[in-house]
Each structure stands twice: as structure tokens, then as C-alpha cells.
């Protein structure tokens, strides 16, 4: 016999699909089958329930480079001591955990005068900067499904990164005002490469790599009916730019989805700034919205929780007792590069694999703790690795979808015996930090 769990949330990408059906064995220990999820999502569930390869107790790095098992209590003590004694600790990650844990973590950060930063630092942080500069006209994915007849994918490739995005929301679904589905929508893809998403497009603008800003500004000028200089604009023929502008203006409801192709290429926040302004300009002719293709399933949530607690969405510096924010100064990569911090705490992210080598070396030099269910390049260089239960599989909690809609994740199986969750571990650390700070 087996048990079935319906309406399960997939804790993998920012699409946060909420229609999964998971079958477990009778005791609720092993996952037998996952329906509706895409290949990556299903793999996350099946992989989590295979306990044979998982570390179930914290480990500490020894002098000879090997790891030795320690108890959770020892790990809590080490973490609390490290954070309480540091002059400027950094607490980074937060994207692959629930909002409840983030909130506890921020309390620790406030007590210890730490920097709090999430993975937006290496993906959509630039989006947040642009939003502060010029605002954002946005909508939910439900509106896209029901209304959108012009869809732009700029510098993103959902065919691989958000596999069910296109079928659930953006290209194929038949909605209230979009009864004919894909036939009713015009898809524009802007990408230097012919990606799998581009193969579904009605128009593919093959922009010259690193010139998105020029193309966006040119589109804005074209929407206004202004002249442009040169026959080829950022790799695209001038007529095609004017045609694309007409196509956008002729729709009833349009949406721009953009990804790391624009947020992390030359120009960064300026690219998004221009994209948002293009959206605003198009609203003079029709209805247009813009949505960021967030990667981790709860990176949006981290921005939300930081936002309501401290007023800033990432790279928050609490070292002086009040919140300050300036990516470029208080971002984790910058402080590691400039050697501005003296302790590193990582939860729910893998800077060891994504940061520049200089920063990775700095992490390995500092007192450091990594909280992660897996063994990752980060856990391999941190002094202490604390394994925890998988959020969204072994413990529930609140998560935010890429369009800022909160969705409650569900627990489907039990974690391995005696394993702590992120929240339990952080609460224990908080208790100990309070004791240490009281003296």
C-alpha cells in the first residue's frame, strides 16, 4: 500500500509549482513516485528520500583536512561563539529555506551586528537596485496566463531553467481571455544564442552579446517613433527593431520576463532600469508588465522578509545597530574580496561554487559554518558543516513565488532520525547567542 499527497509544492525553482502529486510508502518515509513535476523537480524529491548518500550529523574540519563527526550541540556552540565574537560576521544564503528560518536568522544577525545577504547578490540583486531607481509595473503569473498576448523572454531560457513556466503560465496555457493558448500569443525572445526557448519564438532578436542596454534604449526610441543612428542596432537590423516595437504596441496585454542574461551582463542594473522604463513607455499604448525570472524557490521570500524587517531586500549591513544598504559595499562578494569581514555563515546557498576564487579562498581562511542538506563545494571549505532537513520535502514553511505570491510548502516525508531543521538549529543558536551577549 502507499499514501498519496496532493497539491505538493516543488521546492526547486522560482516557478514554485503547486500541483505535484507525491506517493510515499505507508510509514511516510520513502518517496516512491512524483507526478506533474518536471525532471529537475522530481529528482529533488527522489534524491532527498534516498538517505544512503546523506550526511546526518554535523562535521568539523580537522587540521589534516578530514572531517570529524560532532554532535548538534557542539555545532550550535561553535556557531554561536563564532557569530557572537566576530566584529563583522556575514550571514549569506537564505534562498533555499523557508521564511520562518530567515526571520530567526535575521534576529541573530541583529544581535551580532552582522551583514545579511541572499543569493540575489549573484543573480537578481541588480533588478532590485533598478526597482529602487525607477519602480516596477508588475503583475502575477495568473494574470499572464489569463491575459497576456505579447510575451518577451529577455536573457532567460525557461525551457531549461524553469521548465514548467511556459506550460503553466507564459506560452501554452489557455486562460480566461486567452482561450486559444499559444495561437493567441506572440512570443519574442531576445538572446544572443539560438536557445530552445528561442525555437518557440515568433520573433527572435539575436542581440550582440553585452549590448542589451543599447537595444532596450533603441526599442524605447522606436516605441516613441524617434530616429535611430546606424543600420544595425546592437546586432539587430534597424527595421526589425521598429517591427518589434509595433508588435509590442499592438498587443492587448504584454509581459516581459527577464533573467540573468541581462541582470549579470555588462550594465547590470542599468539594463533592468531600461527594461522597466520600456514597460512604462508601452503602458502609454497598451497594458504591459514585467517580471523577474527568479532562480531559487525562495529567494524572493528572502527579499520579502528582509524588506519587512529591515527595509532593504538584500546586502543589509547591521553592524552599527541600524540597517544600512549599498550593494557594491555591503554585498558578500565585495566584503570577501576586500577582506572586510571576520566570520562567514552560509545557509541554503553554495557560494563555494558560484563566487570568484578570491572570495572562496577568503571563506576557507575565515571561521565559517555551512548549513546545507548536501555536501557541496561550500561545505567542503567551511570549518563546520551542519546537515539539515530539506525544506519543502521534510519540513513545510512559507515560500514566495517569483511574482511575490506566498505559497505554503508542505511536508511529505520524515527526515532521517534525529535530524534538525533549519529553523530548529537557528533557534538553538539564537538562544545561545542571547546567553553569550547577556554577559
Amino acid at each position: 500500500m502507499s499514501k498519496t499527497c496532493t497539491d505538493v509544492i516543488c521546492p526547486f525553482c522560482g516557478t514554485l509549482c503547486d500541483d505535484l502529486i507525491v506517493t510515499t510508502d505507508d510509514e511516510g518515509k520513502k518517496i516512491l513516485n512524483v507526478e506533474n513535476a518536471c525532471a529537475i523537480g522530481a529528482e529533488k524529491f527522489l534524491h532527498a528520500s534516498d538517505h544512503s548518500h546523506r550526511v546526518t550529523r554535523p562535521q568539523k574540519l580537522q587540521e589534516d583536512g578530514s572531517f570529524k563527526e560532532i554532535t548538534y550541540d557542539e555545532a550550535i556552540e561553535y556557531t554561536a561563539q563564532m557569530l557572537a565574537n566576530a566584529k563583522k560576521p556575514s550571514m549569506y544564503g537564505w534562498s533555499s529555506t523557508n521564511c520562518e528560518s530567515q526571520s530567526v536568522g535575521h534576529e541573530i544577525a541583529e544581535l551580532c551586528g552582522a551583514l545579511v545577504d541572499n543569493t540575489a547578490a549573484v543573480c537578481h540583486g541588480t533588478t532590485l537596485i533598478a526597482v529602487q531607481n525607477v519602480g516596477i509595473p508588475s503583475c502575477t503569473l495568473g494574470e499572464v496566463k489569463n491575459r497576456a498576448d505579447r510575451v518577451i523572454f529577455w536573457g532567460c531560457n525557461p525551457a531549461h531553467a524553469h521548465p514548467r513556466h511556459m506550460s503553466r503560465y507564459s506560452i501554452f496555457p489557455r486562460g480566461y481571455f486567452t482561450g486559444k493558448g499559444q495561437k493567441q500569443r506572440k512570443i519574442i525572445v531576445v538572446d544572443p544564442r539560438p536557445t530552445d526557448t528561442a525555437s518557440l519564438a515568433d520573433v527572435h532578436l539575436q542581440v550582440e552579446q553585452g549590448y542589451d542596454y543599447e537595444l532596450l534604449q533603441a526599442l524605447r526610441a522606436a516605441v516613441r517613433g524617434n530616429e535611430l543612428t546606424g543600420d544595425i542596432i546592437a546586432g539587430v537590423p534597424k527595421e526589425k527593431v521598429y517591427e518589434a516595437a509595433e508588435l509590442l504596441k499592438s498587443g492587448r496585454f504584454g509581459v516581459i520576463f527577464f533573467g540573468m542574461g541581462v541582470t549579470q551582463s555588462l550594465g547590470k542594473d542599468h539594463n533592468i532600469d531600461a527594461a522597466i522604463m520600456l514597460t512604462k513607455d508601452l503602458n502609454d499604448y497598451t497594458k504591459f508588465s514585467i517580471i523577474a525570472m527568479r532562480g531559487h524557490y525562495n529567494v524572493t521570500g528572502s527579499g520579502q522578509v528582509l524588506g519587512w524587517q529591515f527595509g532593504f531586500p538584500y546586502s543589509v549591513d547591521l553592524s552599527r545597530g541600524f540597517a544600512r544598504y549599498n550593494p557594491g559595499e555591503t554585498g558578500t562578494i565585495e566584503v570577501l574580496k576586500r577582506k572586510e569581514i571576520d566570520a562567514m555563515f552560509v545557509l541554503g546557498s553554495d557560494p563555494g561554487a558560484h563566487f570568484p576564487m578570491e572570495c572562496v579562498k577568503e571563506i576557507s581562511r575565515l571561521p565559517s559554518v555551512a548549513i546545507d542538506p548536501h555536501i557541496t563545494p561550500t561545505t567542503a571549505i567551511c570549518k563546520v558543516h551542519v546537515p539539515v532537513a530539506f525544506v519543502g520535502v521534510e519540513v513545510g514553511g512559507n515560500c514566495y513565488r517569483m511574482d511575490n505570491v506566498p505559497i505554503e510548502a508542505r511536508k511529505v516525508v520524515e527526515p532521517p532520525e534525529g535530524m534538525m531543521t533549519d529553523e530548529e538549529f537557528l533557534k538553538a543558536v539564537l538562544k545561545r547567542v542571547k546567553e553569550l551577549k547577556a554577559n
Partner: protein
Amino acid sequence: MDIVKLTLTKVPELYLEAENITPDHFAGKTAQQIGELHVHLGNTTAKISDYFTVEGKGGATAADTKIIISGPTDKVKYIGMKMTAGEIEVQGNTDMYTAAWMAGGKIHVKGNVDSFCAIGMTGGEFIVDGNAKNYLAASYRGDWRGMQGGKVIVKGNAGSDTATFMNGGTIDIGGNVDVHLGTHAEGGKIIVRGNAKGRVGGQMVKGDIFVLGQVERMMPTYILKGEEEVELDGKKQMFHVWIGDMGERHGKRKGEIIYGKIYVPSGKAEAAAPAARAERKKKLTDKQLEQVKEAFKGQEPTVQQVRTYIYDTFDIDMKPMQVSRLIDGLKR
């Protein structure tokens, strides 16, 4: 004018936040009182005298006070923040936010400065003999007011995002600037005596930018209006005038639309073809590959180990994906 001499004697282990080093805070104080003022390092608070020796005394008012700072001040932030009058002279380099939100007086840094210097400046004079990094005279995040008045002179080069949201004042850069010069500007005057990297005046509403060297690639949304004789440095010169940004909103005066203007000296045509941006090579030579192979012979190295080794020995920062492909390749 009374002079206060600060000499940094202890290099801070992290970075020092010293927004109290301004003539405004020093005015009317003795050396000892100045030494008692706070500096901050991470979540700890220290005194100026913990890091600096203080000589002299402050003048009666800020305008009567001059501060001379020497020693290795590379790791000191916020010098001269929000100062309104008086003078500061720094013998060496300074870190971020030097002259930030400065309203009056004069700061002269003889070395280099880091990013975010002179942001939101409203008045006074800021002179740098060396180079400045990014966001010089720009706005604070989310603010629509960058530099609004005063004068910034950098003798060397400036980084990217210089003068974002500028709406007044003058910036004079002796060397080259990186991308995004005068983005969102709504006024003011920028002079670049070297070359500009590109995206000059993106989203500019109003204002003047002079580039005396070359613009690597002009924005497609700027249109060549013609030639004009303009006075610069007291000399009349011929300039090609480009107007834009055509994608941005613009105001009208007497029925005529006011655009942002970029002036490039006549005869110095814009670099026609965009210089291909130099891609940093991230490949190992055959010889280096051999060396890596030799170093990890008979072992099962992790990706991170190999990545560290390559970074340490060849100074090449490879992505973990590339490294793992490389290991697979070597195994075969």
C-alpha cells in the same frame, strides 16, 4: 586658520568608518577632545586616538579648520562626509564615501579614492590627484538626486557609473572613464579628457558631456546634430554635437525640445567599429594541463581542490563546471 594633523599609526584589521573626521566635528575642539570622537570598526566602537595621533586644534568654526591626514589611510571610509566648510587634505589614498554628501569646503586627496566618493554632493570642491573608482558623484541607491552642485576634479581615471542621476555641478576627469557615464542625468556638466568606454549619456534627459578623446561606441539613440563652436577651458573649439537620449522623456522650452548633448571634438571621429571587448582567456595551455595532470597523479581530487590549484599556480579563475569537465577530460 587652525590646523589639525591626524596621523594613522595603526592599520585597522578590517575597515574603519570615520564620518567624524570633518571640520564641522573638529571645530572648537582641542586635540584631546578630537581624539575622543568615535570611529567604528564592524560592530565595535573606538576612539580616533586609538588609531590616529592628533596634533593641533580645531578653529573656532568649521570654515577656520583645516585637517591634514597622513599615514596608510587606504582602509578609512567616510572622510569628510557631509562637511559644509573648511578644508581636508589627505596625503595618501582613502576608501569609499570620501566627500559623500559634501555641501561646502574643500577636500584634496593626493592618492587614489575608492567607489561612492562625492555621492549626492551639493557644493564645495573635491580634488583627487590619482584615480577614482565606480559611482563617482553618483546618487545613493534609489535616490534621484546625484551630484547637484560643486566641483569634482579627478586627475586620473574614473570607474563605471560616474555621475548617475547628476543634475548640477561640474565633473572634470583627466583620464578615461569606464561604461555608463551620466546615466539619467538631468543637468550639470561633465568633461572627460581621455576616452569614454561607451554608453555615454544613456537615459540622459538634459546636460552636457564633453569627451575630448574617443567614445568607444556611441549609443544608437544619439543623433549627430552638426558642428558647433563651444568655449571650453577659455578656448573656442569646434565640436560635433550629438543629441539624445532619444528613448527618454524630454522637456520643452519655447516649443523646442531640450535634449542631452554630447560634444566630441571635430576631426576626432568616433571609433567607427566597436572594439571587440577583450575576452579574458580562461583556458589552460597544453603545458599547464600536463602540470595539472602531474600534480594530481593517482589521486581522486575534488573539483574545489583542482580549482584552487589552478588559481594558485596559473592565476586563472575557472568556473567549477569547467574544472569538472577538465577533470573528466584528464581521466580519459
